[in-house]
């Protein structure tokens, strides 16, 4: 196979170089210059990614009608033994190329946008250094050609997310949020690591191209042994999914995502909406052949957790007032939908509709959710508040933001011809053919999504006229251009024939819209929009009445179903009180105590015998000679 994709190595390397440059020499440069450098670096990556996508999808020969997996670069990085070595490589296949496009687009837009949004902030060049680090790690993650390399980059994205959430490190809430995000995802990554070890132990390889070959030996082996009624492969894939669930904020590991909104808004758009949080979906998609062939039970877990998370988050999103938190829960809900898509998918041809739809939705979601976050950033920039209660009637002041935000809301609500209509519809179709219960849940979620997004929209741009301290003004051009570009993508990316590009086995199939299912989903979306319009377009007492009617339900949802409290209870009251405290006592008193005891004993003993050291040479001489004499006598009389 010819691999003229060698230049693909540059795609992750340019952001790495930018990170090193800005991280090491950033404080020597002018803030503006370092921002521009980072943006230009990403611009090059953007061009290279689109070039790669064009070349891969349209200019590379298919093998037996399927898109081939191309290893553009591969080197042994850590060699432990002949059979055990960790490689660093670049694997190009439909989903990694698609992710390249997503990441470079959103990242480039966010870089441009931040030139305006972060202007004048302390640590501007630090911000750009971290953004470059994140882009490097995320690109490395999607291009990884083996699961261990993916794990390494997986942790790197975690670190950059931690750094960026805690960007305003003088603010205690930001510090707490960054710690929370790091600890929760680290905990999930423990599962991922266990999953990797089990998986590679059973299949004998880290390499994706061997691991994911449906006819390959790796899948066939290792399905034998069983534990608690499930095969070892199922267990290992459930553990791998646990890592994915942590990164993608699936219930019950979602608690970090809303708090992560403490970071700067462009970061939320890039990391916590478009790219990093979908890494879990990408992971499952990457290992999809293994899931579908050797562990379909694990896919059921994926589908149900995804479905539950999506409705759980959608209900919470209906009650929140912080606009970024509404978007965060919406992200969680949409990722749940993507997980459902994977979970209900089959393998090969039209059977793999769910997989294709999930990837499609990942693509469109990245675009419109980044747009929503950047729009929210423009609003926050204008109003200096995160709370929609302090907003209203902004459509007059922020015309461009208003239009783009409206487009994004229509997109996420699934109204044709906007992009998410196509992708969401495909997922619903796949769910309908696979599991009616999941379909019903996702159908309700579609309605809720439309409702809470338009609740947000009407509260911000319509509703009561709020009196502002100073008149809000439209954001500068560096911020509105990314909005317009992303709005353009949100509108038109639905027409990309995804079923011809990204499929389970790489063989394109003919996709079509199933109107018998698409119409009801458009209908429920419209219903959600109309309810939101009635309740929030004019200032009425209706929302309060509704909240009063469902008093308990509302209170529960408003408090996020007390998940944080449950976590606090479990960690503080149970784990800390009954496990950590006794262990700490054992460590302090038994382990440290024995060591301290030894040292104290030695100390006391040496204190006693130090008097031998009198400084009198003759005493030493006497001891020495007595010793020699004693030894001599022993030698002479006892030897023979």
């Amino acid at each position: 196979m010819t691999t003229d994709f060698g230049y693909a190595l540059l795609i992750p390397l340019i952001p790495l170089l930018m990170f090193l440059l800005l991280g090491l020499a950033g404080n020597q440069l002018k803030a503006r210059l370092s921002g521009l450098l980072g943006t230009i670096g990403l611009g090059v990556v953007f061009v290279l990614s689109y070039y790669t996508a064009y070349k891969y999808f349209f200019a590379t020969e298919k093998i037996a009608g399927a898109f081939s997996k191309i290893t553009a670069f591969d080197m042994v990085w850590l060699r432990f033994s002949d059979s055990l070595h960790i490689n660093m490589g670049i694997l190009l296949d439909p989903i990694s190329v698609m992710m390249l496009v997503v990441i470079s687009t959103v990242s480039f837009m966010v870089h441009i946008y931040s030139l305006g949004y972060m202007k004048g902030e302390v640590g501007f060049e630090r911000f750009y250094a971290f953004l470059s680090l994140f882009s490097f790690s995320m690109l490395g993650l999607v291009l990884a050609n083996n699961i261990f390399q993916m794990y390494i980059f997986w942790e790197l994205v975690g670190v950059s997310s931690f750094l960026l959430i805690g960007f305003y490190y003088q603010r205690p809430t930001a510090v707490l949020a960054s710690k929370k995000a790091f600890i929760v995802t680290r905990f999930a990554d423990l599962g991922f690591l266990i999953g990797i070890l089990l998986l590679s132990f059973n299949t004998g390889t880290f390499d994706f191209s061997i691991l994911c070959d449906p006819q390959g030996a790796a899948i066939a082996t290792g399905s034998g042994a069983a534990f608690l009624g499930l095969s070892v492969m199922t267990w290992s894939l459930i553990f791998v999914f646990m890592g994915g669930a942590g990164k993608s904020a699936m219930f019950p590991l979602h608690i970090w995502l809303p708090d992560a909104m403490e970071g700067p808004t462009p970061v939320s758009a890039l990391i916590h909406a478009a790219t990093m949080v979908v890494a879990g979906v990408y992971l499952v998609a990457r290992l999809f052949p293994v899931y579908i062939i050797s562990a379909p039970d694990a896919l059921v877990v994926v589908a149900y957790i995804g479905a539950f998370s999506s409705i759980f988050a959608a209900v919470i999103a209906c009650t929140q007032t912080d606009i970024k938190r509404v978007l965060a829960y919406s992200t969680m809900s949409q990722i749940g939908l993507m997980m459902v898509g994977l979970g209900v998918s089959g393998y090969g041809g039209h059977e793999g509709l769910g997989y294709m739809a999930s990837m499609f939705h990942l693509f469109t979601h990245a675009m419109f959710k980044a747009l929503l976050f950047l729009g929210a950033g423009a609003i926050i920039h204008a109003v200096h508040s995160n709370h929609m209660t302090e907003m209203g009637g902004l459509r007059k002041y922020l015309p461009i933001t208003h239009i783009t935000f409206l487009i994004a809301c229509l997109t996420i609500a699934g109204i044709p011809p906007f992009s998410a209509f196509f992708s969401k519809d495909e997922i619903l179709v796949a769910a309908w053919h696979h599991d009616k219960l999941i379909f019903a849940v996702e159908y309700i979620v579609a309605g809720l999504t439309a409702f809470y997004m338009f609740r947000l929209y009407f509260n911000i741009f319509w509703g009561k006229e709020t009196h502002y301290h100073h008149t809000p003004h439209e954001a500068p051009a560096v911020m509105t251009i990314p909005l317009i570009f992303l709005a353009f993508l949100s509108v038109f990316s639905g027409f990309i024939p995804f079923s011809k590009l990204v499929t389970t086995d790489g063989i394109p199939f003919e996709g079509h819209i199933d109107w018998s299912l698409a119409l009801p989903s458009v209908f429920i979306g419209l219903v959600g929009i109309i309810i939101a319009m009635v309740m929030y377009k004019k200032e009425t007492s209706l929302p309060d009445k509704v909240a009063a009617t469902f008093k308990h339900g509302y209170k529960w949802a408003f408090n996020k179903f007390y998940m944080d409290e449950v976590y606090m209870f479990v960690t503080k009251k149970i784990i800390f009180a009954y496990i950590s405290t006794p262990v700490a006592w054992f460590d302090r008193h038994i382990v440290d105590g024995s060591m301290n005891g030894i040292s104290r004993l030695t100390n006391a003993f040496s204190f006693r015998i130090r008097e031998f050291q009198s400084g009198q040479l003759q005493k030493y001489g006497f001891v020495f000679i007595s010793g020699v004499l004693l030894l001599t006598f022993l030698m002479v009389y006892l030897w023979n």
């Binding site: 400084g615 003759q618 001489g621």
Partner: protein, 105 residues
């Protein structure tokens, strides 16, 4: 090889000198005295070397050379020791070892 004095007499003399030296080394408080005791010990060893050489291996010269070496080393050692003693005297105005006990714990 018998010129009247048996080997044992030499050894007895050397032992007496050796232990007189040890005794002096341990009991004298004057540094010069200690130095002289050390010289006694060295010389007793010299006598041993020479006596054994003469009586047991008269056709060899190793014992002789060893004593010469020891005499040379002893001379050097005496020079160094006296230099040290003079410095101690300058610093402490005494050559009594009991008063020179800076090197204790």
């Amino acid at each position: 090889m018998n010129n009247g004095i048996p080997l044992q007499y030499f050894l007895i003399l050397a032992s007496i000198m050796f232990f007189v030296g040890i005794y002096g080394f341990l009991t004298r408080r004057n540094l010069i005295g200690i130095l002289m005791s050390v010289e006694l010990i060295l010389n007793s060893v010299n006598i041993n070397f020479l006596a054994f050489n003469r009586y047991l291996y008269p056709d060899r010269l190793e014992g002789l050379f060893f004593s010469l070496f020891i005499i040379a080393v002893a001379a050097a050692e005496a020079a160094v020791a006296i230099a040290i003693i003079i410095n101690i005297y300058r610093r402490f105005s005494t050559v009594n070892v009991e008063h020179v006990n800076e090197m204790r714990f």
